[in-house]
Subunit: 213 residues, 2 copies
């Protein structure tokens, strides 16, 4: 499978790109700055410039000939909420439009646990949840993409366990490594198409959990 | 007509509430702080507390028994883009959901000229346009409201002329007074239902322009 990873230079993005390459997929890491290329070149992973502040038509050219898109970009805590609006929300939506322009069907979005329920948005980062919510909703209702929305709980840097819980209505945390493994596995699991998958650490092997997503 | 005005204490909101009352409509000004009530009490206009950071269900209770909602709230330039996301976008959407909860059909939203076209968003306030865009899109595609989206150009404090241009693809400005008169007239003009109406100053009387919107 030929996969384009948007936000590849993030902590989760690097893991996703590496795992895809390890599995033998043809992966291209979308990066914003040339200096972000070194990590991927060291691992024989191709990179392509991808600017979420650009136009969907231009993004679409970059995405041409891919089978799937993974969106794991986030403006992060270092930038202001202007970028939360323009990257996490509008950038995500533009990448969906770009995927459709390029004729891609499969699109996996990394969102956040409880993004669909305002009453559970964390007060300290409500704008982030709002951006995620509207991006998720666009993907569900305004595109014809074969989407999967992965909703991880609090991200940790712990080692991955390969075991998850996708029923996670009570909240919890999950290793970034397991988030990445789940995204990579979801790309090959048709049962996850048109699904929103909550994700915390758990007792079920990732592949088994996704079959029942 | 019994009309609830959200964002009534803004420059345009005050004009809308005053014009509705002058016309003989039963108008209630939604305000966030008690000290905002004086302006309306001086004009015999009722007020009600309305918090766009609250829950749609609570807002819905406030909106019960109204015939129409006007949304002209804006977080403004004094607050950060966190409020752009939580007021201009999510607050607007929650008010739409509240209107539906309350069984209201008619909903008039004051947006911004060119909000539907990213290529024409002003660079200096792109987050504001993004928020407006996603609120407008929700109103168009995710509600069953009889909506009208009014898209004024650059707002001025000049006297109103009562004459507008609703074909305004070239951009331009418009007096806040004429924006308010257009919103008030649109409430009574069925031809504006399910329409997006660009609005700049022009040569056509407001009522005539809206009949052909």
């Amino acid at each position: 499978m030929k996969v384009f990873v948007i936000g590849a230079n993030g902590n989760v993005g690097r893991l996703i790109a590496t795992k895809l390459a390890d599995r033998g997929d043809e992966v291209v890491a979308g990066i914003r700055k040339p200096e972000q290329a070194a990590f991927f070149e060291d691992r024989d992973i191709k990179t392509a410039h991808f600017d979420l502040l650009g136009r969907p038509e231009e993004m679409g050219v970059t995405l041409d000939e891919f089978d799937a898109v993974v969106f794991t970009a986030g403006s992060g805590g270092k930038t202001g909420d202007d970028m939360t609006l323009l990257i996490d929300l509008d950038g995500a939506v533009k990448s969906m439009q770009a995927a459709e322009i390029a004729g891609i069907k499969r699109y996996v979005l990394v969102s956040a646990l409880f993004a669909e329920d305002r009453n559970r948005w964390s007060d300290s980062i409500r704008p982030y949840y709002a951006a995620k919510f509207y991006a998720d909703e666009w993907l569900r209702y305004r595109t014809n993409l074969d989407y999967t929305i992965i909703e991880p709980g609090a991200l940790t840097f712990e080692d991955g366990t390969g075991k998850i819980d996708t029923t996670g209505v009570e909240g919890g945390s999950v290793a970034r490594d397991d988030v990445a493994s789940t995204v990579v596995a979801a790309l090959n699991e048709p049962a996850t198409i048109k699904k929103t998958v909550p994700l915390i650490t758990g007792d079920t092997p990732i592949e088994t959990a996704l079959k029942n997503a």
